[in-house]
Symmetry: C2
Subunit: 457 residues, 2 copies
Amino acid sequence: MTRCPCEEEVLRRIRPTPEERTYIRAIGQRLIEAVERSGMAKAMMVGSVARDTFVRGDRDLDVFMLFDPALSREELQEQGLTLAHRIAEEFGATWREKYAEHPYVNATIDSLDIDLVPCYAVASATEIQSAVDRTPFHTRYILSHIDDYADDVLLFKQFAKAGGVYGSDHMTEGFSGYLCEILTIYYGGFHPLIEAAAFWKPGETVDIEKHGTKSFEDPLVVIDPVDPERNVAAALSLSRMFEFVELARGYLEEPSEAFFCRGQSPPLTPEVFSRLLSARGTHLFALIFATPEHTPDTVVPQLRKSAESIRELLERSGFPANRIDVCMQKERCMLLFELMAGTVPVMRRHIGPPVSSRENAEKFLAKYVREEVFAGPYVEDGRYVVELSRPFTRAVDLLRSKVLFEVALGKHVRRSMKQGWTVKAGAECWDEEFAVFVSRFLDRSSPLARIKRTTGR
Amino acid sequence: MTRCPCEEEVLRRIRPTPEERTYIRAIGQRLIEAVERSGMAKAMMVGSVARDTFVRGDRDLDVFMLFDPALSREELQEQGLTLAHRIAEEFGATWREKYAEHPYVNATIDSLDIDLVPCYAVASATEIQSAVDRTPFHTRYILSHIDDYADDVLLFKQFAKAGGVYGSDHMTEGFSGYLCEILTIYYGGFHPLIEAAAFWKPGETVDIEKHGTKSFEDPLVVIDPVDPERNVAAALSLSRMFEFVELARGYLEEPSEAFFCRGQSPPLTPEVFSRLLSARGTHLFALIFATPEHTPDTVVPQLRKSAESIRELLERSGFPANRIDVCMQKERCMLLFELMAGTVPVMRRHIGPPVSSRENAEKFLAKYVREEVFAGPYVEDGRYVVELSRPFTRAVDLLRSKVLFEVALGKHVRRSMKQGWTVKAGAECWDEEFAVFVSRFLDRSSPLARIKRTTGR
């Protein structure tokens, strides 16, 4: 296959060196042998190292320990952790226990970041007892189908990383490594994939094994070749999908190395931030509280849900938002709201029942004729309308009030906010811990727009 | 029929005195004789005097001159005006020519306001050549069906007048006199009518002669007994209809003379107006220009249309309205807008095509990547969005700009505004010529709410 010069250049940069590959695989092999020597479990390398699709400098190695499916959950956990601890000690590693669906051991050996994960050695991917049991099947499938596409997968991953659409975590909502591999194999390489993606529509479906049995509502549907009922692209959002689509088009129009380089623009200084914000004339508010002690994949969706609920509350209260976003940092979380109004008239219209529905209409009239109102009830388009006063004329007062607890906040977010939260307004929203986040928020552009502007094309 | 005491009291107040009735009918009779003596036309009294449904103190008398339908339009006009002039002179009246669909003569005789209207003496109401030809049929129909309901019609008219829902002109959009008569006859008196109206729904249909042939979209449909294709209630708006409905319910609940007395609250002083407006916290703007030289029924719909177009323009420009209204006075017209915002951020979001529609998406991106923007294009829910600046951040600047001519204004309104207009803001909107109008605007309430508050019930 002939590649354009920029791709060859990128590959030279990102392809693991033979020494690197030999070294990392050797460590993996030693770990496998150690596991199997115990007689307690089989073992295999999974992930990009096993598949030879890792990018130069990656220090991640995943070794799965496959136990007898006859074990109970408790036995699996106990034996799995015992074995993992023993091996980590044997290798002289520093290690800690971590939790995903199950507990596992994360160890550092010779500056490699190694996960030792216990799972069941099930006979087929449709018999799995938890998501980790599926991973060995993914690795086997990719190994037996990757052919000569390892370089193509590397290019695609680097393209997706540089475009900010790589990663199936809840913050990114982009392409997982496995999804990149499946798509590259399905379309037959990086270039055919890019050419196809330029024409993707919402609901695009890829079924490499032609065995899908369910229908999905997701923007992109990629049936898992090892499980006909699973969409590998379930975590991909419509926005990330179409950011990739526009990148694909832009690259086809004018291929360049810029598409493989993550533009890491530095955060704005407080002064520039303040100046840009004044120029927009909008009303920015940040809600800040302590980060709940849970993984990002638990907390981030709750931040999103909470921000969306508060956006609706703001909207109902007369403060429509231009955009909102959320950020989870180590210490604190931020919900950011850019509003089109910071204050509203105290008068608000309250729309009542149609006058033709007699009982409701009479109740409504009787109620408001006795209350202090600005105007009404009057009849408009056949309904009663009354003009009342609202409790908050300043968005900042609403955001500082306990009314926030009346809307659907995520459980952990609610618990953290019960301990207190801070509201910042305008230029004050700039904060050391959130400098990158608030800078990107103001300066938001699609990845292709950013590349076009940077390269002046 | 037994009536409640308040109705008897009202009737005593509004029923014409026997002397008044004899006098006004005698004048009518003399005019008819004068017309018929000429040998040029037959004549008849029409309107409420002819039908004995006029309210005490009414000084309006309509005499129609029925010409041979074989005459051409020009002949009808010429002969009709000649005859009318001659008769007016003969009675020593001051008179002037006026125009509705046709020219006619308006004369003042003994302080009575008399219209002498030429029309065709057609054989049936379905053969009419213009709307005035229908009037004699209405008069004949009511005369032959009114039975003992003259008092009921008086009560209903007075009830509708006091409630502000009487009059089919474009400003009121209420009940015409003929509509009041038909409804009273159909339901069998004032009380049964009120009882039925309490249950009216939008689309309520009354077909007294059971001969309707067309379907109508109007809120109330009353098939004309002399013309199966006409809705007598076509001019009635949904709001006026349901203001009447709520009055009917309120009256049934607690009948009182208050329902027959027009509460003429005096206009607010500039000081009170200013205070009430500040309390609301809204942003009031008035557009004032010279009144076009046409009848209210031509101008008022154009004012409404213009105000609605400008409201949409304001909304699109970031200034949503709470309410708007229009007023036509002798010298000047006013379009009044109460806005929820007087200023908006200069940044506005502009929503582009879905990224999946490739050609449009590429054009959009290419355009805005080269322009000065606040942010974007970025991808949101699969579409491009870009954040641009808007031309007007203050509503008052928009209302003073020529952009108003880009929206659909009524023809005569546009012509008048071409000569210039004034924009007033806030308390400045109070103006001697519009004092009642702007006062009612701020203090808007349904007629029943007003009665309930006044009577403390």
